[in-house]
Amino acid sequence: MSTLTPEPIPAVMVDDVEPDRPARPRYDDGSGTPGRRRRRAMGTAGIGSRPGFLTYGLLAAFIIGGAYPLWWSVVVGSGTNATRGETLPLIPGGNFFVNASKVLDAIPFWLALGNSIIISAVITISVVTFSTLAGYAFAKLRFRGRDGLMVFVIATMAIPTQLGIIPLFMVMRELGWTGTIGAVIVPTLVTAFGVFFMRQYLVDVIPDELIEAARVDGANQIRTFFNVALPAARPAMAILGLFTFMMAWTDYLWPLIVLSPTNPTLQTALSQLQSGYYVDYSVVLTGAILATVPLLVLFIVAGKQLISGIMQGAVKG
């Protein structure tokens, strides 16, 4: 993983830099620049040309391929079990609320939703807090053993900790925690990725002079952390929080093992819908839709941050 050296991302992408002309900024939304300049020479294929119909067409096909299974679930979920037999159903029926109430009867939906929210929120707060603290120390403070410990963090990032579930289950049973949401929360209170992510972000973003200045002004270490590091770390904390929340929310294996069907998370409850011999798929798919709504809301609110997080993570490594 050490080959993935961080590269700085230019805030403004530079177009075709020519020696006699200053760099033009990228007008990503195509607004604000009138005339031919809008049709900037961009892109890897069309040098000097705008992306054509083929580009948009292929992308649209890809997106429809990704969205149709979801739409299909909505259509079937709002119809009856017979809707599923149709070849390419496109129009939703009027049965959604009937099916939804069947879902609420079959599984403890609200309990599961509450559990999932509590679990994901606590894990997110914990991971973000501890990762920011440790990431700041690794990025900006000098201490004996720093480099060795950082190598350890990077090495553990590649280890699938999922494989430790058997001893983890034994410990939880010994403590009498099985069946409680605490057992789901505790194993994910910290992640090596979080520390690495915050460290990579903070190492560039806080100037050493700022920390030095705080020190000269007489701020002690913890005060420096709160007044200098924390404000600078906020964007990265938001992104890390978003991803941690997603990870905790989607986890299935560990909650399935450690929780009972009477006190489930949304994911384990959803999987129970399918376990009967006779499966009413319109009800099952309604459940899938209901379980997707919370993340859809999150996506609508914070989709841009999610995207910039994925794209920064790529370059940052």
């Binding site: 070849t87 120390a137 294996l253 011999y277």
Partner: protein, 347 residues
């Protein structure tokens, strides 16, 4: 707030400071020094303590469990050395699960990366409303694996599922998506691809955007076509990211659980098919531990899978490094294009 004035670590000491150094330190100075020295450890210790408890200890203790007879209910039995490993390595169901895992992994990662590369390339064309396109591409990522498994398990239903219905339109007969080994692997790989292709496309897009545009232009002037530019400039330039994506796909792909567990639950009981035709290794481990109650053997499977993941990660790393350095000796045209680009940038 100015409570302490600490001298900087280095630099020529002024007479004033020398005088201060010869005096014994005040309590505040001592406190401040302690603060500077100890604080970093306080900051990193929560992570290391928690990680040791919930990450490292279970992984190592798995080794201990794997060397004992160990029942889910009866608990620890006698020490048996590597007997569990021998047992597992001689178990055809273990090898079946490994074969399934690798097959599903290949069926998902290769098409997924290919399509992600294409989508990233399309997104890198300077589209209008890029945020709209990026968000649309990412949409499947917010559907949780369990929901994806449920949706596709229904769509791949053999009797009247969406996929067979569509195939019928083209005159193709119903396929046995849940009973045929290969087809079930295709179906499960489809679920993985559905969720991750757009995500990986965005990662690759970010890397593509940091490739200097003038590189492409010079190559175009030299007469390199779009395909040529893609393979000779884009791919080598995004190499580190490509390796990163491949390694992450490996670590995740070899641990697939939710999809096979929930594919065809009603007839196969969630252990990976009536004939275990799509039982992955994590699913096999789960069955061993919680159905057959054999923690010892399940722990052995966990360690073997761990070794497999590490091995695969390394192999992938080496292969992808070679592939990506296919342009290691760039042909004259690209090399010239690059040179020109650097000269142009310097001028």
């Amino acid at each position: 707030m100015t409570t302490t004035i600490r001298p900087p670590a280095s630099g020529t000491p002024t007479p004033q400071r020398r005088a201060a150094a010869s005096e014994p330190l005040t309590f505040r100075q001592r406190l401040s020094r302690f603060d500077v020295k100890a604080s970093p450890y306080f900051y990193v210790s929560p992570f290391f303590i928690l990680f040791a408890l919930v990450g490292l200890f279970p992984l190592i203790y798995t080794l201990v469990v794997s060397m004992h007879e160990w029942d889910l209910l009866k608990g620890q039995g006698p020490f048996v050395g590597f007997e569990n490993f021998v047992e597992i390595l001689g178990d055809s169901m273990f090898w079946n699960s490994i074969g399934n895992t690798i097959s599903i992994f290949l069926l998902s990662s290769i098409p997924q990366l290919t399509i992600a590369l294409i989508v990233a390339y399309l997104l890198d064309q300077g589209l209008r409303a890029p945020t709209f396109w990026r968000m649309s591409v990412l949409l499947p990522y917010i559907v949780t694996p369990v929901a994806v498994a449920i949706i596709f398990s229904s769509a791949f239903n053999e009797a009247d599922g969406l996929v067979n219905n569509l195939l019928n339109v083209f005159g193709i007969a119903d396929q046995q998506w849940k009973h045929d080994t290969f087809l079930s692997h295709v179906a499960i790989a489809t679920m993985v691809n559905f969720r991750w292709t757009g995500y990986n496309a965005l990662i690759l897009l970010a890397a593509m955007q940091s490739v200097p545009r003038d590189l492409y232009e010079s190559a175009a002037i030299d007469g390199a076509g779009a395909v040529r530019r893609f393979f000779s400039i884009t791919i080598p330039s995004i190499r580190p990211t490509l390796i990163f994506v491949i390694i992450t796909a490996t670590i995740g792909g070899l641990q697939i659980f939710a999809e096979p567990r929930l594919f065809d639950v009603s007839t196969a009981g969630g252990i990976g098919g009536s004939d275990r035709q799509f039982q992955t290794t994590v699913l096999f481990m789960w069955e061993l531990a919680f159905f057959r109650r054999d923690f010892g053997e399940a722990a052995a499977v966990a360690w073997l899978l761990f070794l497999l993941i590490v091995a695969f990660g390394l192999v992938n790393f080496l292969i992808s490094r070679r592939i990506a350095t296919g342009g290691d000796r760039p042909n004259r045209r690209t090399r010239r294009a690059r040179e020109r680009a650097t000269r142009g940038g310097a001028a």
